[in-house]
Symmetry: C2
Subunit: 252 residues, 2 copies
């Protein structure tokens, strides 16, 4: 058994626009993939409305269980952007204007009408916070200890992830490999269970689909150990072939 420490992260998505169905969230998947590469596992996501107490409560609940906490959304200049206030309340610290964030925003808005009160909102941080800079917008993200406050707009959030790449302590990255079959997953459910039981360092996920009028499924093996991953995938592939399945390495 692999007894190495597993590093974990949680994400609080702040946004009425996600809960109303208006906006399709893309940050969960992007953060999850980025965290995998950092050797950190995303283990919980909560999507909460733009209500200060609800955000603060979720931040404290999730960070109590995880090594790192991320938030996305609610850091713009408008009245409904209250993430900094909520995280400050959760931490029990004051909201301050960060001098460097103010200077960055002054530069960014110099030829765009100047730094209004609304824009200055984006320089506010929980006291003790550092900036996560990005090239896409004047407004930085914020790091406060193991809390990372990120933008809601996906490509700005991704810029902030880029800025954090390699900065967070993690474990071994999660490796994965996929195999696909044009079969109902119920046909091979017993095989999946048996192979996973025989390979305790790997997990097998089953992802059924309907496509081109046929049922199929992809089976994803995950492990932090490359040798174990190969052993589990080989065993799965052999068991599927022995069951009469045609397998597609890499997935369908």
């Amino acid at each position: 058994m692999n007894q190495k420490r597993t590093w974990t992260a949680g994400l609080v998505v702040i946004g009425d626009e996600i809960l109303s169905g208006r906006t399709q969230d893309k940050n969960v998947a992007a953060l999850a993939k980025w965290l995998n590469v950092q050797g950190i596992r995303l283990v919980e996501v909560r999507i909460v409305p733009d209500i200060l107490e609800r955000i603060a409560e979720a931040v404290n609940a999730v960070r109590a269980e995880t090594d790192y906490l991320f938030t996305t959304g609610g850091i713009g200049p408008t009245h409904d952007d209250i993430t900094v206030d909520a995280v400050s309340a959760a931490l029990g610290v004051e909201v301050i204007v960060h001098p460097r964030a103010r200077a960055m925003l002054e530069g960014y808005y110099k030829d765009k009408g100047g730094l209004t009160d609304a824009r200055l909102r984006m320089a506010r941080v929980p006291d003790g916070g550092e900036l996560i800079e990005n090239r896409m917008s004047g407004a930085p993200g914020i790091r406060h200890g193991n809390i990372f406050i990120m933008a809601g707009i996906p490509h700005i959030a991704e810029q902030m992830m880029d800025a954090l790449t390699g900065q967070l302590e993690g474990g071994d990255p999660v490796l994965s490999d996929t195999i696909g079959c044009w079969t109902a997953e119920s046909e091979v459910a017993d095989i999946l269970g048996a192979v996973e039981d025989a390979h305790p360092d790997s997990q097998i996920g089953s992802y059924p689909f309907f496509r081109e009028g046929r049922v199929g499924a992809n089976f994803v093996v995950r492990s932090t150990d490359a040798d174990q991953l190969v052993a589990c995938m080989n065993a799965l592939s052999e068991a599927l072939v022995a069951n009469g399945q045609e397998v597609t390495p890499g997935g369908i």
Copy 2:
């Protein structure tokens, strides 16, 4: 002030595939939109891994705060499909094989190799559960009181929502209208706040974007009262025009 009762729902998304970034969730947005039409507001989403205790804990935490609880994912035939077990644990009831679900699966699989043990897993329900039938797959969803256990595959989940349309008591549907401007939201943040303050029965959301090399934002007014919605939207539109903005009704 509108003092009518607000009906609320929570969603627990069950799936390592979402937390690993492998699969882009689509059920949050689809359920949110469907709930809006039922007069029910989605107020919290939790995405949890395929771990029984974590699912059960999230189910109990979220249903304690909401009128309805939905789950998506984890109701297939494989070893990682443990939603029924987790909800049963959360409710403190036994898992039973539902006779009608068994009969449905027997029919569905009659010419597809018959009802194996793995497939029979899909007939299991928390004791007291009723079926949510759907035309897309042999496996039904499950209703247990105010808990709704739905498929993870989006088009099957949507079939289950269709089957539930009009079945859930709700309040007035949330109405919305959108207006767009090619402006930085920071330019008009004060206007948004002032108009919202003057219209307590409406909420204004601001959704900035970068498109075609320019910044813009859509402003969404939401209310359960049609007259209040129109009044708030008119006030917002007039205030934006008075600020020198060109507005696009319906959004950009």
